[in-house]
Symmetry: C2
Subunit: 328 residues, 2 copies
Amino acid sequence: MLASPINPADVNQIQGVYPSKPDMNTLLGTTEAAAVGGNEGVGEVINVGSSVKGMQKGDWVIMKYTCMGTWRTHLSVDESQLHKIDDKSGLTPLQVGTVSVNPCTAYRMLLDFAKWDFRGDEWFIQNGANSGVGRAAIQLGKEWGFKSINVIRDRGDKAAEQKLKDELYDIGATKIITEEELQGKEIRDQIKDWTNGGREQIKVALNCVGGKPATAMAKYLSPGGTMVTYGAMSKQPLTLPASMLIFKDLAFAGFWVSRWSDKHPDLKKQTVDDILRLTRAGKFKDIPVEECSWGWKTDDEVLKKAVQGTLGGFRAGKGVFKFEDLEV
Amino acid sequence: MLASPINPADVNQIQGVYPSKPDMNTLLGTTEAAAVGGNEGVGEVINVGSSVKGMQKGDWVIMKYTCMGTWRTHLSVDESQLHKIDDKSGLTPLQVGTVSVNPCTAYRMLLDFAKWDFRGDEWFIQNGANSGVGRAAIQLGKEWGFKSINVIRDRGDKAAEQKLKDELYDIGATKIITEEELQGKEIRDQIKDWTNGGREQIKVALNCVGGKPATAMAKYLSPGGTMVTYGAMSKQPLTLPASMLIFKDLAFAGFWVSRWSDKHPDLKKQTVDDILRLTRAGKFKDIPVEECSWGWKTDDEVLKKAVQGTLGGFRAGKGVFKFEDLEV
């Protein structure tokens, strides 16, 4: 492997609270049945069997399915389980190793839950705008001409809040508001103003928070719009007045990238290729990461600590295992 | 007019708490701007203008749009605002006068929110199964081969509860349970048993209650299923754990027959014709009604009382104005 991110879902999977679970067995020589953690990552082919036609030494590959165990230095696997990166030129292992989960989630949620005209006068709204998915959505939206209202949590440190806003504006956010502002009274007129009196439609809401902030966000969807839930950081359920469903014709759906990936491997390859094309063109910026170098001599505790920090509060970046050049 | 039902939404409209409002004016000779109540009903053409080609004296007609004011003995209206009933043979004014709202709601909610195979091994689940929509859904489901789990409110009077169950079984309900049973623990195994271990999918849930009973019902939808909300009798919002949306891939939508009718007048005619065909074939039973006869001499108070009873609790039947033979 070259690089494998540590996604919150990977940790939930280890905790046993995630619906998708890897096969546990003793193939790795453990006395008790075990599985390797991690679901995303990029590897470099170091050897192929004689009947393998589609890949060769030096190729970069990503996992076609979930639960393949990417937190490891080396992996022996059938080529049918992998997507080859057809053109790795101009790309880093970090970019390719983090393309499958967050960017794919943002890409499909934006495209698949609304009918877009791509005329530059359409909007989406999202909370958790600072997350990997949120940043991907901002950049994809910019590319496709979707304007965005981005909700972030209020920070006690206003300078840090402003720095974050600057970062998000820099990658293409149209508007940024805090959760407190979203739930306040003045925002209604402001959003009306931004959307040309409501004539520009807010077609999709992306929700990874839940609870009251999610209900507040749904209120600003245009009639007929859809809220797509992909997380619940507040651990609160979504509460929906019936009038939103009946009279405003809002729909509420969910998106789970694992299910989508496993169900649509071909579409996954196409989505990944398109995102990598944008990355190569400089239209898709690297997400902030905290790298954890992994070599022959890395102490177990260092690796464990990198994983354990994943479910914390405000973090500086996504944890990523970066593998040292390890000859076998 | 021949017959005009009193729907709960008509009362909400008068209360001013319904989003769809009729035009208020003084055309009827009132000193203050006024509008006629009622949105559904059947009339008989008693005279046509010389340029009217599609209708003639004696034809039965229903309203093409909402807000036309059906609680009146006579109505002068352009033919473009009406659907003519092409074949009224074998039909009563009650059947035709109550086809536009409840049966159309059930028809579209069942058909439009799932991909059905029509092979007799598919299910839907609904609360408020005793309502006009609920009874229509049972009968349409039976016709289309959809089995149904029907949730009714618990009655203190168990004999009355059994009588209601008998009625619903009689029109084609597959299973009937109470709200209390739905929220109990034993029902899970029972539903699994009914649906052949879950192999038969519960594809749609119809919700007119909201609150906890609606969340409980959503739990029994098969993965990928949709809950359609068309009412909120409990006055409680819908509360959805994120896992339902993300991992179980459930979708939550709403249905408002007024919007649907006004948006799809041609489809409304087709839907009405199909339901009347089933009615004529004896496959669509009359709903229980409380008729209020309306003649020249009927006292205002009698009419008012009929409307005021609409939003009560357990009622014996839907209120319907039945117009006496009124020559002008």
